[in-house]
Each structure stands twice: as structure tokens, then as C-alpha cells.
Amino acid sequence: MDALVRLDDVRKSFGATRAVDGVCASVPVGRVTGLVGADGAGKTTLLRLMAGLLAPDGGTVSASDALGYMPQRFGLYEDLTVAENLSLYADLRGLAPAEQGDTFARLLSFSGLAGFETRLAGKLSGGMKQKLGLACALVATPRLLLLDEPSVGVDPVSRRELWRMVHELADQGVAVVWSTAYLDEAERCHSVLLLDQGRLIYDGPPKDLTQRMRGRSFAVRGIMDRRVVQAAARRHVGVADALIQGAAVRLVLAEGAAVPAAAELGAPQAVVEPVAPRFEDAFIALLDRHGGPVPALPEIVHHPRPRGGAVVEARDLVRRFGDFTAVDHVGFDVAPGEIFGLLGPNGAGKSTTFRMLCGLMEPSSGVARVAGIDLASAAPEAKQRLGYMSQKFSLYPDLSVRQNLDFFAGVYGLSGARRKAVCGAMLDVFALGPMADTNAGQLPLGFKQRLALAAAILHGPDILFLDEPTSGVDPLVRREFWGHINTLAGDGVAVLVTTHFLDEAEYCDRIGIVYRGRLIAVGSPEEIKASARNPEQPDPTLEDAFIALVEACDREERS
């Protein structure tokens, strides 16, 4: 087959880190090639090598000159309009003026941006920026299209559109390279280059990798307490992975392991059924980095809390910014021991709701109560009882791991021997001991995330606020993270979490979908999925349900 990119033993290092380590691969025409890997696996570096933005330290890269490249932040000039951005890139790429009119018209209709020509790029939504970025990369009809994490920060609806466009291009004979950390996207590619720590660990169609997992994926259905079953499965020898998925628990067995009986999983009445393997199953199996048992959280954090009542109460919350109503009469409760997920596209108001509940923003009207305390009146008392972890890594990058923990223990009023004991325990539990004196900013992403969680819970909060806590970290770290959250929920800690990952939403007991400032649906993942069930979609995924709900809301708005 005709290849537009050939990589032969390509190597690239930055200081001591080997970003790309001996990669051999090729990118064929007319295909979508997924460049898949966790954050820091070397995707961006490899893409930049292909685009000629970096020179390799070793090996050879040969790539077609007729390439279009879209960097992570799209490379758009935010203070130029849609049309001005297009014509700038057209001129720079040497598209003849005579051809520009037709090309622009075609690209604008292709990307659905027709009618927005005079809008400033900075004023576009995330999804539209993405499409404009793509249009700019396509302006000189490239034969090779390199896209660096095009779906980050794009809501599920726009993401679908983007995939449709990319497949259309591939059908026209363009070679597309799509880099992503989302494993569900890998399944939509014709072929996948799987990277781990700079090395290529798999090259081929995603299905082939998934097929290897045949007979190893199971679902445990009909259970009472998902978290109990999950914990039991985790402990079970021969189970490589156990994951909550709605009302069920999904198991991936180790190679050659026997299927565990329902009774062994602590749920005698449950059924263990085989299910189709997913790419993620294969990924986990391939990257199996299971360590020893995780030490228990210290007593100050891990102790039973009283049950009953609601510890987070949102009553008729409204927040206006000028004329714009970001949050429009939103109300819900979270009980102790419950994990409540807030879902929604960017700008829908979920962050604003979240921020009002943890006291970072005052509501225009309505009440936000935490642990029965109105945040407007006695914030410090309420804050002592909550833990917060924001979506951006928000610890002090220039302080060491230990100094960060010490600081947060200090501001939560822990002192002397108690502070020392808690910080020490946290270092153990989160396996941060060897890095205690490393600057937090220099930690690998997975460790940063552990540290952030450690800092958020070291004072033993009764309520935990998590704002997109696992964006960008690899599935392994994500599993470990949810293990701790589940332990805390088991102790009776109320957890409020916002997320982009629809499969992560499956871990929640209840989810609320926020769209255009309103809470358009609340219920367990199963209930939400059920609401979207119809003859065309007998078994909708959460993503299908989400899209159906959002579209229904749009229709209602229009009529």
C-alpha cells in the first residue's frame, strides 16, 4: 500500500526523557490512523516529527510535503474572523487567488461554518474552533492530514461530527493521523499506533487487538452493591480489571484464568455473562502494570461517617453574568456515601453549578448548602468539611510533594505530630514516598493527580468535590483513583464529580445532565440510558442517551 509517512527507528529525547524511542511505522493513504496513548506517551512529539517541526535525534522520518497540520490549540488567530483565518492560511500555503472562492465555499459548507464567516475565531465554541482549525489545515487540499488531539474539550455531539468529516476525507484518499488519549476513539480508526512511554507497542487495526481479548470480557449483572462486587473482583486472582458500568460490573480476566463464580464475587444472586471485548480491555491487558496491594488510607480519612439526610443541597440555584444566565434554577441533593456526577458540554453551566456548591462563587439566587451549612453565612466551617480537587492540576508546582502536603495539612489546621503522621501516611498510600522531595510540577501526570487527591482528602472531609479529576490521565491511573473514591464513598463520604468521560459517568450512583444552564435529566446511569431506548436504539450507550437528550432539548428550544 502507498504510504505517506514512513518512520524508521525514529528517536527523540528531551533532556533525559525519551519522548519517542525507536518507532518504526507507516501511514497509508485513504485511512484514518489513530495515534493512541496516555498523556506523555509521545503522541505530540511523534506528530511534530511527522510535520517536520522537530528533527529526529536518530532514525529517519519521510513524510509527504502536501501536509496539513492542526496543532493542539488549533493554531487559529482568535482576533481574526473565520474568513480571515481561512484566507491567511490559503495565501501562506500558496493557494491561487482564483481558486480561493470555490475552496472556501466548499470548506465552509463541509465544516458547517457557512454563515459564520465574519465571526471572530475567538468567539466560536470549542467544537466550531475545532472545525475551523480543520478547515484551515485542509485549505490547500493536503494528501496527509495530521491532527493533534482534535477532540480535547469538544462535546460528544461535535466529536461525532468531526469523526464524520475525517472519515469523509479518508474516503477521498487523504491519509489522516488522529492522535488521542481517549480509547473509545481508537476503535473508530482504521488502524492504530499504540504508544507507551515513547515506544510503539501495537501497530494494526484496533479490532485485531480487541479480538485477542475474546472470551476474557464479562459483565456481572443483577447485583445489589456494585462497589462491593467491584472490590471483591479486584481482589480475585485471575481478574485483570474490574470496572463499574452502570448497574453492572465489567470484568476482564487474565490470560487463561477461569471465570469467577458469582458467589466468589460476594453477590450469589448475580449473573456473570460474556460481553464483547473493548479496545480499553486490550489496552489494560497490554499495559498490565499491577503493583502490590495498596496500603489503607489513614484513620483520619478512612472512617465511617454518619448516614442519612443530604450533605450537599442545591436549591433553585441561579447564576447570571450580565444578561446571560449561566445556571438556571438547578436543584439536586447528594446523600452521604453517594457519588453524584454532573455531565454536560462545555459552557453548559456544570462548572458554574459546581463552583457555587463549593463556595467559589456566590449564587445570584437560591441556596447552596454543604453539610447543612449555608455557604453564604459560615463558609470556613463548611469548608473545613469539604475536599476539593480541580480539573487543572492545582498544587504548587515549585513546592516539593512533601511541602505541598505539609501546606495543605497546615491550612486545614493539622499541626505537630498529627500533621506529620497524616502526611507520611499519604506518601505511603499514594506511593509518593520516592518522590517526596521532587517539585510537584515535575511529576508525571499520574503522580500529580495522586498528589492532588492526597491533598484534597488529607483532612478527612465528609464531602468531596471533584472537577474533571481524571482528564488526561491514562486508564490505569484512573482505575486506581476510582478505587480510592469508592473506598471513601463506602465510608459515607458524599462525592460530587463533573466529568467529560461518559464511561466515567457510569461509575456514579446518579448523574445529572446540565445543558444550557438547566438540569435536563437526573437519575442513575441505567435510568438515563433507559430514557433514550427506542426501536432504533434498543441498547443505547450513555453517549447515545446524552446526545438524544441534548438534541431533544434543542428541538424544544426551537419550537
Binding site: G52, L53, R73, G75, L76, L88, Y89, D91, G94
Partner: protein, 372 residues
Amino acid sequence: MIRLRRLWALVRKEMVQIVRDPSSIVIALVLPVVLLLLFGYGVSLDARHVAVAVVVPEPTQRTASLVTAFANSPYFEVEELRDRRPAEDGLVSGRYRGVVVVADDFDAQASRGLDAPIQVLLDGTDANTARLVKGYAEGVWAKWLGYEARDRGAALAVPVNAETRVWFNEALESRNFLVPGLIAINMTLVGTILTALVVAREWERGTMEAMIATPVGRLELLAGKVIPYFVLGMGGMALSVAIALILFQVPMRGSFWVLTVVSALFLVGALNLGLLISTVAKNQFVAGQIAIVAAFLPAFMLSGFVFEPSSMPLWIEALSHIVAARYFVTCLQTIFMAGDVWSVILPNAGALLLIALVLALVTLKRTRKSLE
């Protein structure tokens, strides 16, 4: 190899951005005006109406004429005291910048033709004013001696008389030479910060990465930045010159075209310095810091705008020779105050051209078309 259409596309893009994002306009047009007004009014070396106490313990006709001589000088604001003590305290508190003291028996001694010293005490914490005041006091004293001699019918006792004439600046307005110097400093700041920040912004926003992935050449990339900001910078220059001429009444004895050419040479150098900084600093914070330390500080201290490089220690004076602002200040002061003195303008303009060329070459060499 420059493709004109690509270059034009870059220039046009930059122009649109300048119009849409006012921060560049603020830096190019508002900043120099604000700084010029601030410095123009705030920085002055003219010691006029200097507060001086004259201590006369026993007033007589002779002391009265001495006090009058000081009071009549435009440089002094005189307060007559009887006691030495408050005058000295005033020197400590900063109320007086000089004290003139005569002895109790001043009149008697002077009448007898004996040496009757007039003591002048100066505040050394303001060295420049102290030096000026010393000179002014000597002038007043010499004049007073002349009057005294004439009044008493004696011949003029002063053998050698120095008659001072100031060329180019008869009224000794420090503003006349400070304002042209300020323009040079402003243009250093503006030119350097403009390009340094703008390129750093492109790195920060990720557009530089997309730009490098296109077939644009580095010469085009650099020219695409220099041309629009050159136009903007010359706008700032024109504004500064207008303020200098209209508001501060600085004379303009040279020709405008020479001023334009010299400014253009300097601005190209400053813009290139900014580009060079941005190849090192890829975020606006660092770029701004470096621009201030590498451009503003040397321009302020070493250009000769107030502080004479020839009076500095040798190593600092040597350093001042690589500061473009030094040549620009010299040119501007000459063009404004003296006229088109070719013997000054040609070598200095040559130095500016050389600096601009060297900076452009270094920048071109340092700008690689890659992300490293």
C-alpha cells in the same frame, strides 16, 4: 526567497490583529505619549527658584545689598534670617538647598578692606543642584562685587571676566535636550516590547506552531512582523515629535527627512532586538522582563540622555558603545537643537545602520523553522 503574496498575507494579518487587539496600539501610541508627558514635566535639571536662606545677624546697608543681589537672581528664592541655627536645621530637613552666612562683623571687616568671608553652605545630598547652585552663587557674588565697587567709585577690581555664551540652547532649558533623549528612550521601549511581546504571544497561543508548519520562510516570517510594527512605531515617533514641538516647544533646527531616516534606522534595530528577545523568551512574561532589562535600562542609563557616559567608569563607558540608543540620542539632540550637522549625523547614523544589520542577521540566524 520572499514570495510577495505570502508576505503580504502575513502583513495584512498583523494589521488586522493590531486593529482588533488594542494592546499593540496602546504600546505604540499611548505608552510613548504618557511617558513623554510624565518625563517631560517630571524630569528637569533646571534649578530655578532654589530656596536659599541668607543669614544676616546684623543687617547693614552692605548686607542689604548682598541680600538684594541674591534675591534678584532668577535662580534663588531668598529668605532672610537673623539666626544661623534655623537655617542649618532647614538644610537638614531639606527646606533650604543652600544657606548663605555672613559674620556678625561682616560690615566692619569689609569696610576696612579686610577679608570678610561670605560662607555658602550647600546640601550635598543633591549633588547636581549643589554644583549648579555653587556656580550661580559665584555669579551673584561677582556681580555684587562689581556693583559695590562702582557704588564706592572704585575701579573694577576683577581682572579676568568670563563671558559665557550657550550655543543651541540660549535659555539653558534642560527640557530642550531631555525631550529628544526621552523620545529615543521611548522608541527603544516601544520598538523592543512590541515585537518581543507579539511573537511571544504567538508562541503562547500556539499559532506559531501552525505557522511553522506552513511553507512560510523565516525571512518572510520576520519581515511579516517588522513591517507592520515599523509602521506603527513610526506613528508613535511622529506623535512624540509632535508633542515635543508643540507642547514642550523644543526647537527643530534640522530637517524632517533626516529625522525620519535616522528614526527609521533606529526603529528597525529596536524591532529586531525585540524579535531576537522573542527567540529566547517564548512567553510574554519573560519577554517583557528581558525587554526592560536589555533595552530600557541601558537606553536610560547609558545613552547619554542625562548621564554623561564620559564621566562613568571606563568599563561602563565601553558598554555604552553597543547601546543603539546612545547614537540615536546624539542624532536627535543634534537634529532638534543644532541642525543637520553632517559630521555628527553621518557617523552616528552609520552606527545605527550597522547595529540594525547585525541584529537582523543574528535574529535571522537564530530563527529556526522548527520548535526547538
